[in-house]
Amino acid sequence: MPDSVAVVRAPAAYEPPIHRLSFHGDGTSLFLLILKNLFLTVITLGVYAAWARAERRKYMWSSTEISGQRLVFTGTGLELFKGYLKVLAVYLAFTLIPIGANYVIPGSRPIVQGVLTLAFVVLIPFAIYWSRAYLLSRTKWRGIRFGLEPGAGPYAKTFIGGYLLTLLTLGIYGPVWLNKLRAILLNNTRYGTERFSFDGSNREAFRIGFTGFLLSVVTLGVYYFWYAAKMSRFVLSHTSFMGARGRSELTAGDMFKIVVGSILGTALTLGIAFPWIVVWSTRKVLDRITFVGEVDFALVAQRASSGNAASDALAHDLGVDLAL
């Protein structure tokens, strides 16, 4: 065949490297681990609960692979236990101070109690922030620690201000509020010396959140799965680290399978299938997440970081833990 048409060969298209996430845990091992933790917690009258928590995190972390290397959880049960004790001391103080105050100034109890309750509410965003800081500081990958820059104050300000604004606007401000909080957490997250960055606009977050709410109402909740998939794509595609940007391929169908499968699976087995379901759903989510682009790991250096287990325990008690 005569080569009459000049074929212009494009230079080999540049294929940016893809960093994949995957989960390697298995339900049976997790089940045995939970059973062992339950046993030790029961025979130690609850003392082992802190160690159980650390053990379970260790398992979940070390089963998670990012770009060929596993995460490592370096937190210990002992530090968490000490954290629990500190939280217990705070609770005791909260209970005893009003009683003591009433003793000194009779009738002052309701006022003191009110002030303390307010303080407790203000503590919630701090607990969320410090809990994240603790978890990141105890997470290693490729021998390098993650961390969260100090910034609980601004976070709490955004949290409380945004919360009030959300109440005042009957929830309309909600998506913007959540996006601002997400931006603070992600922009302050670092791996070694390098920071993550989040550039998802409040406008876009509002659009997704608001239409998501409206359509969910109109479709009697069915749209929720599309909303959840959209939101995960939005968050990941606006999250980057050095030259790599996140990508989520989670679809509404995936979301439906994960949510409905988890609920049915646990309900039908009275919770016994729980470990297998955790493994299955985590695997499903991580399989759909990638980071695309160049990362020069040689440029990432180790940095010392702090993190306090008491705030983690507190976050757990306030019910705002990340459920990891």
Partner: protein
């Protein structure tokens, strides 16, 4: 990318991270009797890792992490299954437990946990009752404040009805009953047929119950039952129990509660309903004792239960806070003859005052009634 299993000069492929940068270097590990030789891809020899002090951590999915105190921060990661076998043989890594011993262990754990939970549930009622008895009355009275606030606007009583109710309650008291200073006896404007005991020894009877009651003896029976709850400090015991149960739940499986479809509080609720049924039985027994002591007939109480049978016994007993009405009536009958009254429970004018206490008020508050729905009857 993960290194593949393959050797170069008889080494196992691995990745070496020094802990100061995020770079992962491809290396080959060659085990010697006392150390691991670590060679880079180019053949450069790195510092060897001694077997002594080597920490081997097998991760899910066949990855091996090696760390060593002499190489702080450094990490060797390999997916070659042969490396683990070699390290096991050299005694540097602990051997995997056999599947059979894993099953045996799992069965042992499960049996112990089940046994401990059963034991715990068995001693819980006695334990919480004992703790409740030691809680000072003044502390229990503090818990009463929010309840009073909730119901205050619905109390309906004339001076006569209030006096009559207090007199009836006084005649049903026994020596040794707790002396709550702020205890109140109130009639509340609610349509439901019920009576409640609240923290601090207060007893509230609904308008619906008074409309339904056929005789002062029936009211006396109900009041005697509630007074027994007060005497046994059942309310405080319930508070103590729920604190113990929720703490126990939080400590053991609380981490997963958010992901569980069967709401754990439902299970706690079912468990605590069985305790509640036991408490009701105790209160019924105490009520007949109180009625006989006061010289009243116990027939009022059994008549009341007989009428309740139709309206309450459609709920399976194990789901209910109370024993079935038919059972309760039978238990009263078995406790002794319904001796003819030596004394009438109250004079006629008093009974009229009580029956008419809420006249003219017919408030409906579905929210409040729902809230009190599972209360003491």
């Amino acid at each position: 990318m993960l290194p593949e299993a393959g050797d170069r000069e008889s080494g196992f492929r691995a990745e070496w991270m020094d802990g100061s940068s995020g770079r992962a270097h491809a290396v080959y590990i060659s085990p010697l009797p006392d150390r691991l030789l670590v060679r880079s891809e180019e053949g450069t020899e790195l510092e060897p890792w001694m077997l002594e002090g080597l920490h081997v951590e097998p991760l899910p999915g066949g990855v091996l992490h090696l760390t060593h105190g002499a190489h702080p921060g450094a990490l060797l990661s390999s997916v070659d299954p042969r490396l683990r076998e070699v390290l096991e043989a050299a005694g540097a890594a602990s051997r995997r437990p056999a599947a059979r011993s894993l099953v045996a262990r799992a069965v042992f754990y499960a049996a112990t946990v089940a046994g401990a939970v059963a034991l715990f549930l068995a001693v819980l009622p006695a334990m919480s009752a004992a703790i409740a008895r030691r809680v000072p009355l003044s502390i229990e009275e503090q818990l009463a404040l929010p309840v009073n606030k909730l119901l205050q606007s619905r109390y309906c009583a004339s001076a006569d009805s209030r006096r009559a109710l207090v007199t009836l309650a006084e005649s049903l008291r026994l020596a040794g009953d707790p002396e709550f200073t702020g205890a109140r006896f109130e009639i509340v404007d609610l349509a439901m047929v019920n009576a409640f005991t609240f923290p601090g020894g207060s007893i509230v009877v609904t308008r619906g119950l008074l409309d339904d009651a056929q005789s002062p003896e029936e009211l006396a029976g109900v009041l005697a039952h509630e007074l027994e709850h007060v005497a046994r400090r059942h309310v405080m015991a319930q508070v103590v129990r729920s604190v113990i149960l929720t703490t126990g739940w939080q400590l053991t499986v609380g981490d997963f509660a958010g992901l569980m479809a069967i709401d754990p509080s439902t299970m706690l609720e079912i468990a605590s309903r069985s305790f509640s049924r036991d408490a009701e039985k105790e209160a019924d027994e105490g009520a007949t004792r109180r009625l006989r002591h006061a010289g009243f007939s116990t027939r009022g109480l059994s008549d009341f239960f007989a009428r309740m049978e139709g309206s309450t016994d459609f709920v399976p007993e194990w789901l209910s806070t109370h024993p079935a009405s038919a059972e309760r009536r039978k238990a009263i009958a078995e406790s002794g003859p319904a001796d003819p009254p030596r004394v009438a429970a109250m004079p006629d004018p008093d009974w009229k005052a009580i029956k008419g206490a809420c006249s003219g008020r017919r408030g409906v508050d579905p929210h409040l009634e729902k809230l009190l729905g599972a209360g003491n009857r």
